[in-house]
C-alpha cells in the first residue's frame, strides 16, 4: 500500500536513518577501543622514536634521527639483530623439516589400504599429543625448561647425559650454545602446530594421486619429494612466514629462560627484550621506540621478501 510519494520517501528515509543508526551503534565501541589502544600507540611510536623522551619531562624534545644514528653504533642492538638472523634461518628450517617428516608419516606413511593411502597406526593419537605444547603459555614453558636445562648434574637433560657417562653441559650458560638451547624450546613447542597444519594440507590432496603413483612403483621418497612437497607448497609457505614472524619475537622465552635476561653476556638477547628493558628498566622511551620502529621495518621487510621469493605456480587439483 502506498500513501503517496512523500510518505513513502519519509518512511524510506527513516528506515535508512535506522540502518545508519544501527551501523554506528554497532561500530562505535569496538572502533573507539581499537583506535585508542592499538592505532594511536602505533602512530605515536613513530613520533616518540624521534625524541629523547625519558618520561619525566612533559614535552619531549625533537631530536630527529639521532636515536637511529645511535642504534647503528649500539653493539647490543646488532647482537640482537644477528640473533634474529640466526633464528630466522635455522628455526623455520628445523621446525618445518621435523613437522613435514611427521605429518608425512601420519598421513601417507602407512602405505595403501583398500586403495587409499593412510597414516601409520595411531596417527590420531600422535596428532593430539604433538599439538599439546602449543596451548601452554610460553612463560610457563620457559620456567619448565629452566629445570630441564640446569647446568649441573641436577638438570633433567644433564641427568640423562650422566647415565650414559657424559659430562654436564652448560645449556644456557655457554654463550655459543645458549641461543640454540632456546631455539630448541621453540621447536619443541611449535612442531605440533605445523604437523596439524601440514596434515590439513596433505589430506586435501586427492587420494588417487598417491594411489596412482604407488601403483606405478613410486617409493616413499618419490611420494614425498615428487608429490607431497609440491602439492602442499602453499601451506609450507604460510608456515614459513609464521615461523619467520615468530623469529622476530621470542620475548617471553628469552626473558624467562636465559640467564640475566638475554645473557650470558647478551648472547641470547632479542630486539623485543631490548625494547622492553630500554623502556621499562632504563626509562629511555625515545630510544626504545626507535628500536620498535627498526623491528617493525625488519618484520615488514621479511614478510614482503618471503612472499615474493617463495611464490610459485599454484597447482590446482
Amino acid at each position: 500500500m502506498r500513501h503517496g510519494d512523500g510518505g513513502a520517501g519519509g518512511r524510506l528515509l527513516s528506515a535508512k536513518m535506522r540502518t545508519y543508526g544501527f551501523i554506528v551503534s554497532f561500530l562505535l565501541v569496538p572502533l573507539i577501543l581499537y583506535v585508542v589502544f592499538v592505532i594511536s600507540p602505533y602512530a605515536q611510536a613513530f613520533y616518540i622514536s624521534l625524541t629523547n623522551w625519558r618520561g619525566i619531562s612533559a614535552n619531549p624534545q625533537y631530536i630527529g634521527f639521532e636515536n637511529f644514528g645511535r642504534l647503528l653504533d649500539d653493539d647490543v642492538f646488532w647482537a640482537a639483530v644477528r640473533h634474529h638472523g640466526l633464528l630466522l634461518l635455522a628455526m623455520p628450517l628445523i621446525t618445518i623439516a621435523i613437522a613435514l617428516f611427521f605429518s608425512f608419516l601420519l598421513n601417507v606413511g602407512g602405505g595403501s589400504k583398500g586403495g587409499a593411502m593412510r597414516g601409520v597406526r595411531g596417527s590420531g593419537f600422535y596428532r593430539v599429543v604433538y599439538f599439546f605444547p602449543q596451548v601452554l603459555a610460553v612463560a610457563v614453558v620457559g620456567v619448565l625448561f629452566q629445570a630441564i636445562y640446569r647446568p649441573d648434574g641436577t638438570g633433567v637433560l644433564n641427568g640423562l647425559l650422566s647415565t650414559v657417562g657424559l659430562g654436564p653441559v652448560g645449556w644456557l650458560i655457554t654463550p655459543d650454545l645458549a641461543l640454540w638451547s632456546i631455539m630448541g624450546v621453540v621447536v619443541w613447542q611449535s612442531v605440533g602446530f605445523y604437523v596439524v597444519l601440514f596434515s590439513a594440507g596433505m589430506s586435501a590432496i586427492p587420494k588417487d594421486v598417491f594411489e596412482a603413483a604407488a601403483l606405478d612403483g613410486a617409493g616413499r621418497f618419490r611420494l614425498f619429494f615428487g608429490i607431497t612437497l609440491p602439492l602442499i607448497w602453499d601451506t609450507i609457505q604460510v608456515g614459513w612466514v609464521y615461523l619467520g614472524i615468530a623469529a622476530f619475537d621470542c620475548f617471553a622465552l628469552v626473558q624467562v629462560l636465559s640467564v640475566d635476561r638475554g645473557g650470558p653476556d647478551n648472547a641470547t638477547t632479542v630486539l623485543p627484550l631490548e625494547i622492553w628493558r630500554t623502556a621499562f628498566t632504563f626509562s629511555k622511551f625515545g630510544y626504545a621506540s626507535a628500536m620498535g620502529v627498526a623491528l617493525f621495518f625488519l618484520t615488514i621487510t621479511f614478510a614482503a621478501l618471503s612472499l615474493r621469493v617463495t611464490r610459485r605456480e599454484r597447482i590446482e587439483f
Binding site: 572502533l31 596428532r127 599429543v129 604433538y130 603459555a137 630441564i148 650422566s162 612442531v191 619475537d249 623485543p272
Partner: protein, 299 residues
C-alpha cells in the same frame, strides 16, 4: 591379444605391491620409533613436572632427577596455592580473561557483522583499519600503550588489562568473523527483517545462533591467547600490585625468587597448576582448538 596386454600390465603392479609390502615392514617400524621418540620428548617434560611436584627438595636437586618420588603428598601444592599465591593469580586470570573474552566476542562480532553485511561509506576503510592491526608487532606500540593506559588512570588495574586485551584481540576476531558472516545465507535474516524484526534483534536472535561454530572457534582462540599472554601483564601490572598479577607473570616470578627460597617442589606444583587447566580445556576442545589455531593460516 587384449587379454595378454592385461596380464602383462598386471604383473609389474603385483611386483610393485609386493615390494611395497616388504618396505612397509621396515619403514613402518622405523617410523613408529621416530614417532614414539617425539611423543616421549613432548610428554616427558610435562610428566616430569607433575612428578617433581610430589618430590622433596633433595630428591629434585639430588643426583637422580629422573627417579620417582618416594611418597605422594600434596604439601607442595598447598604451599604453591597459598604461599606463592598461585590461587590468587589463577582467580585474577579467570576474571580478566573471562570478562575480556566475553566482550571481545561481543564487540568483535558486532563490528564483523556490520562490516560483512551492510554497505556504507567507509566500510572498506574500517575493515582494513582493523585488519592492519594483524601486521604490526606489538613491541612497536609498547611504550605509547603504557602511557595511554597510564594517562587514563588504568595502569595497575584489571580494567586496563581487560580493555587492552579486547583491543588487541579485535583484529583477528573481526578478520575471521567478517569472512564467516559473509558465508552465512542471507535469506533467513531478510525474512526476519520483512517481518519487522529490528536490525539489533536480527543480529542477536538470528545471526549469532547461526554463527555459532565460528564464534566457538574464535572464543577458544581468544581464551588461549589471552590466558597465555605474558608481555602485556608485566607491562600493565607492575611489581607494586602483586595481588593483581596474572598467572603467567606470577609463575615467571616464582621462578626468579625460587633461587633464594629454593622451594623446588612448590615451583613444580605451581607449574602443574598452570598446565592442568590448559590440559583439560585442550582435551575437551581438542578438535576446535586445532582448527581454530590453524584457521588463520588457511585463509
Amino acid at each position: 591379444m587384449a587379454i595378454q596386454t592385461d596380464a602383462v600390465r598386471v604383473a609389474p603392479r603385483a611386483a610393485a605391491r609386493r615390494r611395497q609390502k616388504n618396505s612397509v615392514g621396515v619403514f613402518g617400524a622405523l617410523s613408529h620409533v621416530a614417532l614414539i621418540v617425539w611423543t616421549i620428548l613432548v610428554v616427558g617434560p610435562i610428566l616430569w613436572t607433575f612428578l617433581a611436584s610430589f618430590k622433596t627438595n633433595p630428591e629434585i636437586v639430588g643426583d637422580a632427577p629422573l627417579a620417582l618420588p618416594h611418597s605422594f603428598g600434596w604439601d607442595a601444592w598447598g604451599r604453591a596455592w597459598e604461599k606463592a599465591h598461585v590461587g590468587r593469580y589463577m582467580l585474577n586470570t579467570i576474571l580478566v580473561v573471562g570478562v575480556s573474552t566475553l566482550f571481545t566476542m561481543l564487540f568483535g562480532s558486532m563490528a564483523a557483522y556490520v562490516l560483512a553485511r551492510y554497505r556504507f561509506w567507509g566500510n572498506r576503510a574500517i575493515y582494513y583499519l582493523f585488519v592492519s592491526g594483524l601486521s604490526f608487532p606489538v613491541f612497536l606500540a609498547l611504550v605509547p600503550l603504557f602511557f595511554v593506559v597510564r594517562n587514563l588512570g588504568l595502569i595497575d588495574t584489571h580494567l586496563g588489562v581487560i580493555l587492552v586485551y579486547i583491543a588487541y584481540s579485535l583484529p583477528f576476531t573481526v578478520f575471521f568473523l567478517t569472512a564467516f558472516f559473509k558465508t552465512l545465507p542471507t535469506s533467513v535474516a531478510e525474512a526476519a527483517m520483512m517481518d519487522g524484526c529490528s536490525h539489533t534483534r536480527t543480529f542477536f536472535q538470528i545471526m549469532m545462533p547461526m554463527a555459532r561454530p565460528g564464534l566457538i572457534s574464535i572464543t577458544i582462540f581468544n581464551i588461549l591467547g589471552q590466558w597465555n599472554q605474558y608481555l602485556l601483564p608485566i607491562v600493565l601490572l607492575s611489581g607494586s600490585v602483586e595481588d593483581k598479577w596474572l598467572i603467567t607473570q606470577g609463575i615467571a616470578n616464582i621462578n626468579t625468587s625460587a633461587g633464594y627460597e629454593a622451594d623446588w617442589p612448590g615451583l613444580f606444583a605451581a607449574l602443574s597448576m598452570a598446565i592442568i587447566p590448559m590440559m583439560i580445556v585442550y582435551i575437551i576442545f581438542q578438535r576446535q582448538i586445532q582448527s581454530g589455531l590453524t584457521a588463520g593460516a588457511v585463509k
